[in-house]
């Protein structure tokens, strides 16, 4: 594909998108740019054609099975997008009068309430703009809590070694030292190690449950006790909530803070990287520290309700705002629509079928001879394979399998994460995929292993049929990309 810049020609102006030209006489030259910005000059048709064709060079949930572990790439009902895109929602300025915001604020308040119920927490703030920002909010609140009590030496965050990278990164950004807790052979946290680590320096523990190993942490109540007894608080990374929502609640497991990954559990499309939303829920101890704005409700004399945004004035101990305005409101609206369509029964049905699909896929792959990382355990909504056997015996790695799966019209599972299982493949089918699709995936895996035995070169050089069969590019050189960063288009350069 040529870039949009290659199609640019001086003198093309889409007058339909531009107000009348007018000379600027009111500003001194020092403020003005010397030459026009180097944007492409292309017609509307060229733009439409270029980006439409680019879109076709993507795998997506709308076009492909996308079993990317830890990412919950399920079907995102189109209506969520459609309704969040109503012009009444889209046209409102964030600082417009509260009155004009009653529809949005009521909706956000309802979402807050639903998230409280789902998590079993006492209060929720919707403001964090992604999971990682939700983590930040949670850890910052934990820090604020300790500091507010004058407990200054709690500078360590305990994090299992299987944790997602955002957990240690967040802890570090919040000024804490990360202490890794090992996992035992069954995929549970090593309790002895946890006991040894917990103490007066413990600010808290960050945990995903089910963990990123695709199993439910069975000793969660003991862990909570250990950490709480040591004076620490518990943070729940809610990225995996799809597996358990409606069946267990972080609050009931003893957590003090939790973030939701709205763009995983509550069917906001991921947009090729975002936006998401990472609302954060807290128990009693952390409630005063919630990030602002929180949506408040007031009962009116006439029996009606009035919704408003509570800022730091109303919540003086808040860790503060994390976004210029109210966060990714549009994403939250999508989640609201989804939850209203699903209801409580639908929510636990989601966990049921996400779990059924994962366990079925695991059972079939195990039966086909693949190495399941924790064969004696139930899968949750996802499960781990290890391709170590295939790597050793056929010289075909998890990466090679991943790339070759693309040729079979399956997006690749997450690979090499969590790192503690060698040649790992984390597979999450989600509840919206049919049995037929799972069976197709199993057949593809079996076929690739056969290829690995008979024609390993073909697997090692995959993909061959994407993005454009026979036209490539084929497998891209990541090392070259990092060694010689080529990050923007420049005239007369083709790498």
């Amino acid at each position: 594909m040529t870039t949009i810049f290659d199609a640019s020609r001086p003198g093309r102006v889409n007058a339909q998108h531009a107000p009348e030209a007018q000379a600027i006489t009111t500003l001194e030259n020092q403020f003005l740019r010397a030459s026009p910005p180097p944007l492409p000059q292309v017609s509307e048709l060229q733009v439409v054609r270029h980006f439409t064709r680019l879109s076709q060079r993507n795998f997506s949930v709308d076009t492909h099975f996308y079993p990317l572990g830890s990412c919950t790439m399920k079907y995102n009902p189109r209506v969520c997008h459609t309704l969040a895109s109503l012009s009444g929602f889209l046209d409102r300025h964030p600082l417009a009068s509260e009155e004009s915001g009653q529809g949005v604020l009521r909706t956000l308040h309802e979402l807050q309430e639903m998230l409280k119920e789902i998590s079993g927490m006492r209060a929720v703030s919707l403001v964090p703009m992604a999971g990682a920002q939700g983590e930040f909010a949670g850890v910052a609140m934990i820090r604020a809590y300790h500091l507010a009590r004058g407990d200054h030496q709690r500078t360590e965050m305990l994090i299992p070694d299987a944790a997602h990278g955002t957990n240690p990164a967040t802890a570090a950004i919040c000024g804490l030292t990360v202490r890794e807790i090992p996992t035992n052979a069954h995929g549970d946290v090593d309790l002895d190690a946890l006991r040894a680590a917990a103490g007066p320096h413990t600010a808290g523990l960050m945990l995903t449950n089910p963990s990123t190993l695709g199993v439910f942490e069975r000793q969660i109540l003991q862990m909570a006790r250990i950490v709480h007894d040591a004076g620490g608080l518990l943070y729940y990374d809610g990225a995996n909530l799809n597996a358990v929502a409606g069946r267990v609640r972080p609050g009931d497991m003893g957590f003090d803070a939790v973030h939701f990954n709205v763009h995983k559990t509550f069917a906001t499309p991921h947009g090729g990287g975002g936006p998401g939303a990472g609302p954060v829920g807290v128990g009693e101890r952390l409630e005063p520290f919630l990030p602002v704005p929180v949506v408040g409700r007031r009962l009116l004399d006439n029996g009606g309700e009035w919704f408003f945004q509570m800022t730091q004035q109303e919540l003086p101990d808040s860790i503060g705002p994390m976004a210029a305005f109210a966060g990714n409101v549009g994403v939250l609206l999508r989640a609201h629509v989804y939850l209203r369509m699903i209801g409580a029964e639908g929510l636990s049905r989601i966990a049921d079928f996400a779990t059924l699909n994962a366990n079925y896929l695991m059972a079939r792959l195990a039966a086909a001879g693949f190495t399941v990382a924790f064969p004696e355990r139930r899968a949750t909504h996802e499960f781990l394979l290890s391709m170590q056997f295939e790597a050793k015996n056929f010289g075909v790695t998890a990466l090679d399998f991943a790339k070759r799966l693309l040729d079979y019209n399956c997006y690749a599972p997450t690979i090499y994460f969590p790192a503690l299982i060698p040649e790992s493949m984390l597979i999450e089918p989600t509840e919206t995929e049919s049995k037929e699709t799972l069976d197709h995936f199993v057949e593809a895996m079996i076929a690739i292993r056969q290829e690995a035995q008979n024609d390993p070169h073909r697997v090692r050089t995959a993909p061959h049929a994407v993005p454009v069969p026979g036209k490539g590019p084929g497998r891209l050189d990541a090392t070259r990309a990092a060694r010689k960063p080529d990050l923007i288009w420049k005239e007369n350069t083709v790498s």
């Binding site: 870039t3 998108h17 009348e20 030209a21 500003l27 003005l32 492409p40 000059q41 292309v42 509307e44 733009v47 439409v48 980006f51 439409t52 076709q56 993507n58 997506s60 790439m73 895109s85 012009s87 046209d91 417009a96 009068s97 703009m129 992604a130 920002q133 990278g165 990164a169 950004i173 000024g175 109540l221 991921h270 990287g273 975002g274 936006p275 990030p291 994390m322 976004a323 210029a324 305005f325 109210a326 409101v329 549009g330 629509v337 939850l339 209203r340 029964e345 059924l356 699909n357 366990n359 509840e431 049919s434 590019p473 084929g474 891209l476 050189d477 070259r480 990309a481 960063p485 790498s495």
Partner: protein, 454 residues
């Protein structure tokens, strides 16, 4: 079952394969005492019912004619932008981890980076931050990292958006950064270069220059940049991307240009939407590349020499460096940047400049009209771009409420964050406001100010 494709026959066959008697048994590793009772959520609605509900909510109160800016601007978004950006293949993909199956998203991001680098005059740009405020916070952290060992002081004028300053506080406070607020000149409404002398030799790591600043006023970016350079401090330009259609880009400021440029991307194709999703943009000079947080797309080759696009420089990111990452950001604002790339392609350099010029002209026209109203005065003397701070003859809160009830979102109440700017409002007229709109604002405001109880 809504969104679940399993037939009774499927369920039976799958349980058989698993060797489980029923669905419940799949959860048998969860301690029994943790199982929660049925949740009390509102009853499920079908799509028809939820559609009706949300249409009611969306239409419950009119939004009114918008004259508010203050960090989010109503611009015309060509219809083609979201028709294409919202295509399922873009909208329902994940972060492009498998490059070969994500060339669409990756190439758009590469083109987006190029546009943002071009607009800001930087050597590189990342694939987005959450919003303008968090982008500024990340820029500050990045500057301090780059300044390693030479001091952790950030000089930030109070002419920077007050909410941005709070967000910077929230997001950087745990990293032992000293944020020093630099007061603006109360007459001009911008930083006076002479005021900087006070900070000479104080080991400032970075100076933030907002252009235009929160009051819509143009800072003397060249002088400020040169001062910072002399002090060995980095310069962070906080800019409005539509204004950059006309204004000198950070890369051209002063003798050397700024080091980092960041800002709110909302004006490039994102609807106002009560506050989000928007996106932050962040770019820098070549030397700072490996300090820049967030995702970056690069061009590379396959084995046959065909070019393609891939996420690169991931060694900076949390999934490789974990606790030593440049930032914890993972999911960013992907689709918004796709929209921005389409938006900018449709406008082109000429279109963007014309939009900027129209905003400027409309705001001047609005200013003229409002200043005709007795008692309305300009607060500052500095040159304005597309936003204006005005003082009303009456308290701003009731006046703005009254205007809103009459269908006019009149502006932002400056007292909210600047107690000294009593009765002050910040208002703007983008290219979407017509002369008739401006007249209506003026006549409505006249009426409101004349009413006794306002």
């Amino acid at each position: 079952m809504p969104f679940i494709p399993h037939t009774p026959a499927d369920i039976a066959a799958m349980l058989l394969q698993i060797g489980a008697p029923n669905l419940d048994s799949l959860f048998d590793e969860i301690p029994a005492e943790l199982r929660c009772p049925p949740l009390r959520l509102p009853p499920a609605m079908n799509e028809m019912a939820v559609t009706r509900l949300m249409r009611e909510r969306a239409g419950s109160k009119p939004n009114g004619l918008c004259f508010i800016g203050a960090g989010a601007y109503e611009h015309h978004i060509p219809a083609a932008v979201w028709e294409i950006a919202a295509r399922g293949e873009f909208l329902t993909a994940y972060t492009p981890y498998q490059a070969e199956a994500s060339q669409g998203t990756l190439q758009v991001l590469f083109e987006f980076q190029t546009m943002m680098a071009g607009l800001t005059g930087m050597d590189a740009a990342n694939a987005s931050m959450y919003d303008g405020a968090s982008a500024l916070a990340e820029a500050a952290l990045m500057a301090v990292r780059a300044h390693e060992g030479k001091g952790r002081k950030l000089l930030i004028p109070t002419s920077v958006h007050p909410l941005y300053r709070r967000v910077v506080h929230t997001l950087t406070r745990h990293q032992e950064i000293e944020v020093i607020e630099l007061p603006f000149d109360p007459v001009e409404g911008r930083v006076s270069p002479s005021a900087l002398n006070h900070y000479r030799g104080r080991g400032i790591a970075a100076l933030v220059i907002p252009q235009p600043n929160f009051f819509g006023i143009l800072e003397e970016a060249d002088e400020l940049t040169n001062w910072a350079r002399r002090e060995g401090a980095l310069v962070i330009g906080l800019v409005n991307p539509v204004a950059l259609g006309l204004l000198a880009p950070p890369g051209d400021w002063g003798d050397t240009g700024a080091d980092i440029a960041c800002g709110e991307g909302q004006p490039l194709g994102a609807p106002l939407a009560s506050g989000g999703p928007y996106f932050g943009f962040l770019g820098c000079r070549q030397e700072l590349l490996r300090q820049m947080p967030g995702r970056i797309v690069g061009r590379t080759l396959d084995a046959a020499g065909a070019p393609g696009f891939i996420l690169t420089l991931q060694a900076r990111e949390q999934h490789i460096r974990r606790s030593r990452a440049t930032s914890n950001i993972c999911t960013n604002q992907g689709i918004m940047t796709i929209a921005a790339a389409i938006h900018l392609s449709l406008l082109g350099p000429d279109g963007l400049a014309r939009v900027a010029a129209a905003c400027h002209a409309n705001t001047l026209a609005l200013t003229d009209r409002l200043l005709e109203i007795p008692g309305v005065t300009r607060i500052f003397t500095g040159p304005v771009f597309h936003e204006i701070a005005l003082r009303l003859p009456k308290p701003s809160r009731p006046v703005l409420s009254q205007l809103a009830r009459l269908g006019i979102q009149g502006g932002y109440r400056l007292e909210e964050h600047y107690p000294k700017l009593a009765k002050g409002i910040l208002t703007c007229a983008t290219e979407t406001r017509t002369r008739a709109d401006i007249d209506l604002y003026a006549s409505t405001l006249t009426w409101v100010l004349n009413v006794k109880d306002a």
